[in-house]
C-alpha cells in the first residue's frame, strides 16, 4: 500500500509552480511592495548591510589612515584658504543671481528655484548582472521621495526609485532603463541621454540638422521630468551618422565616476 509521502517531488513541483506564478503575478502587478512587507524587510536588512559596509570601509581605511591624517591637515589648511576666496566669489554670485532673477522677472520668465541638497552616504551598490543601483543611507525620514534627482559636484548621478524609512535606492544614469532629456551646452542641440549599461551614455534623437561635436558638454534640459536643468551629464566623445538614419549616433562619457561614488546629494 502506498503511504502518504510528506516530501514527494510531485508535491514540491506544485509548490514551485505556485511560487513561480506568484512571483510572475507580483512582478507585473501593482502589489510589488507586498503591502509594505518589502519595505519592512529591507528596513530589517538595512542595519546589517550598513554595519557590514561600515566594518568593510573601516578595515580598508586602516593602512593608510596615519599618512592620511598628515595629508588631511595640509589639505585642511589649503581648503581654508580656498574657502575664503570662494566666500568672496559667492557674494558676487549672489549678486548675479539676484540680478538674473530681476531680469527674468522683467522679461516675464519663471524664476528658477535653487536646489536644496541633502547629503547621503552610499552603503551598497549593484552592478550588472542586475541593475546599476546604489543604496544610500537616507530615506523617507530624511525627506527623500521617489523620482528625486541625485547629484555629486561633477554632475548628475541618477534618480531615487524606491524609498524606505532609513534608506533609498538610486538608479544610476548609466542604467539603460533611465533616460534624461539633455542638451548640448554650446549649441543647445536637444537629445535624450540613455545609459549603455557599460558605464557610458548614448545621446539619442539628436537630429542631423543639429550642431554637435566631440568635446561638447551635455547638461540636463528643462524638459527633463526629474532632473533640474543645467546639471552636467557628460562630454561628447564620438559623433557619427549612419546612412538612412535621421539622427546622429552620439557617445557621451559621464562626468561622474560611478565606480567611486561614496557620498551623493539628493535634490529635495
Amino acid at each position: 500500500m502506498i503511504r502518504y509521502q510528506p516530501f514527494s517531488r510531485k508535491r514540491s513541483y506544485k509548490s514551485a509552480l505556485i511560487l513561480l506564478l506568484l512571483a510572475i503575478f507580483l512582478s507585473f502587478s501593482a502589489f510589488q511592495d507586498l503591502f509594505g512587507v518589502r519595505s519592512l524587510l529591507f528596513s530589517v536588512i538595512y542595519p546589517f548591510e550598513w554595519g557590514l559596509a561600515a566594518i568593510w570601509k573601516s578595515t580598508l581605511s586602516i593602512p593608510g589612515s596615519l599618512s592620511r591624517i598628515r595629508n588631511l591637515m595640509k589639505e585642511n589648511e589649503e581648503l581654508r584658504e580656498k574657502l575664503k576666496i570662494t566666500a568672496v566669489n559667492h557674494l558676487r554670485l549672489e549678486e548675479l543671481q539676484k540680478e538674473n532673477e530681476r531680469l527674468r522677472q522683467i522679461l516675464g520668465f519663471k524664476s528658477r528655484s535653487y536646489l536644496k541638497l541633502l547629503p547621503a552616504e552610499v552603503i551598497a551598490r549593484e552592478s550588472p548582472p542586475g541593475f546599476h543601483l546604489l543604496i544610500i543611507d537616507k530615506g523617507e525620514r530624511a525627506g527623500v521621495k521617489k523620482d528625486q534627482p541625485v547629484l555629486v559636484e561633477e554632475g548628475l548621478v541618477g534618480k531615487v526609485i524606491e524609498v524606505f524609512p532609513f534608506s533609498a535606492k538610486v538608479l544610476l544614469l548609466v542604467d539603460a532603463s533611465l533616460a534624461v532629456a539633455a542638451v548640448d551646452q554650446r549649441t543647445r542641440a536637444f537629445g535624450v541621454a540613455v545609459g549603455d549599461n557599460s558605464f557610458g551614455l548614448d545621446l539619442k534623437y539628436v537630429p542631423l540638422t543639429a550642431e554637435i561635436q566631440e568635446g561638447d558638454r551635455i547638461v540636463t534640459s528643462s524638459l527633463s521630468y526629474f532632473a533640474p536643468p543645467g546639471i552636467p551629464v557628460g562630454t561628447v566623445t564620438k559623433v557619427s551618422k549612419r546612412q538612412n538614419e535621421m539622427f546622429y549616433q552620439v557617445k557621451v562619457k559621464p562626468l561622474v565616476d560611478f565606480n567611486r561614488l561614496e557620498e551623493v546629494f539628493i535634490a529635495l
Partner: protein, 148 residues
C-alpha cells in the same frame, strides 16, 4: 542550525555582491554570486522542497536589493529546480556538474534578457566571470550547505 547558516550566508552574499563585487566589474559586468550559490545548494541539498525554499529566498533577497519586480525569484527558482533535477540524474562529481550548470544557466539567463549587458558578446564575460566564482566559492558553499 543549518537553516540559519544558509540564511546568514545569503545576507553575506548580498553584502559581497553589493559592496565588493560591484567594484570588481569587468566591461561593466559583475558576477552573479546568488546564481552560483543556488546551483551549489541545489546539488548539495537532496530535498527538492528545501531547494525550492532556499532558491526562492535567495532570489527574494536579491530582489529586495534590486529594482522592480521579482525576476530574481523567478530565475533562481527555475534554476534551483532544474539544478536539483540534474543533480538527481548525474552520477559524476558534483563540482564539475556545478561548473557546467553555472555556464549553461548563465548563458540562458543572458539569452532571456535577465542580465543587462552592454554589448552582444557580453554573455561570454558573464559566463566566464560566473565560472571563475565556482572554484572560489565551491569549498565555502560546500562547508555551509553540506549536510555532513
Amino acid at each position: 542550525m543549518r537553516y540559519l547558516k544558509i540564511l546568514i550566508s545569503f545576507f553575506v552574499l548580498l553584502f559581497l555582491q553589493g559592496e565588493i563585487f560591484s567594484h570588481l566589474t569587468y566591461l561593466g559586468v559583475a558576477p552573479d554570486l546568488f546564481l552560483v550559490s543556488v546551483i551549489v545548494l541545489a546539488l548539495l541539498e537532496k530535498d527538492l522542497k528545501q531547494t525550492i525554499f532556499y532558491s526562492a529566498f535567495a532570489g527574494f533577497m536579491q530582489d529586495l536589493a534590486s529594482a522592480g519586480g521579482y525576476l530574481n525569484v523567478i530565475s533562481k527558482l527555475v534554476v534551483g529546480v532544474l539544478a536539483s533535477e540534474a543533480g538527481e540524474r548525474y552520477l559524476g562529481d558534483e563540482y564539475s556538474l556545478a561548473a557546467g550548470l553555472v555556464a549553461v544557466f548563465t548563458f540562458f539567463l543572458c539569452l532571456l534578457g535577465f542580465y543587462k549587458l552592454a554589448f552582444g558578446y557580453g554573455w561570454i564575460v558573464v559566463v566566464i566571470y560566473n565560472l571563475l566564482m565556482v572554484p572560489i566559492f565551491w569549498p565555502i558553499f560546500k562547508k555551509i550547505y553540506g549536510k555532513d
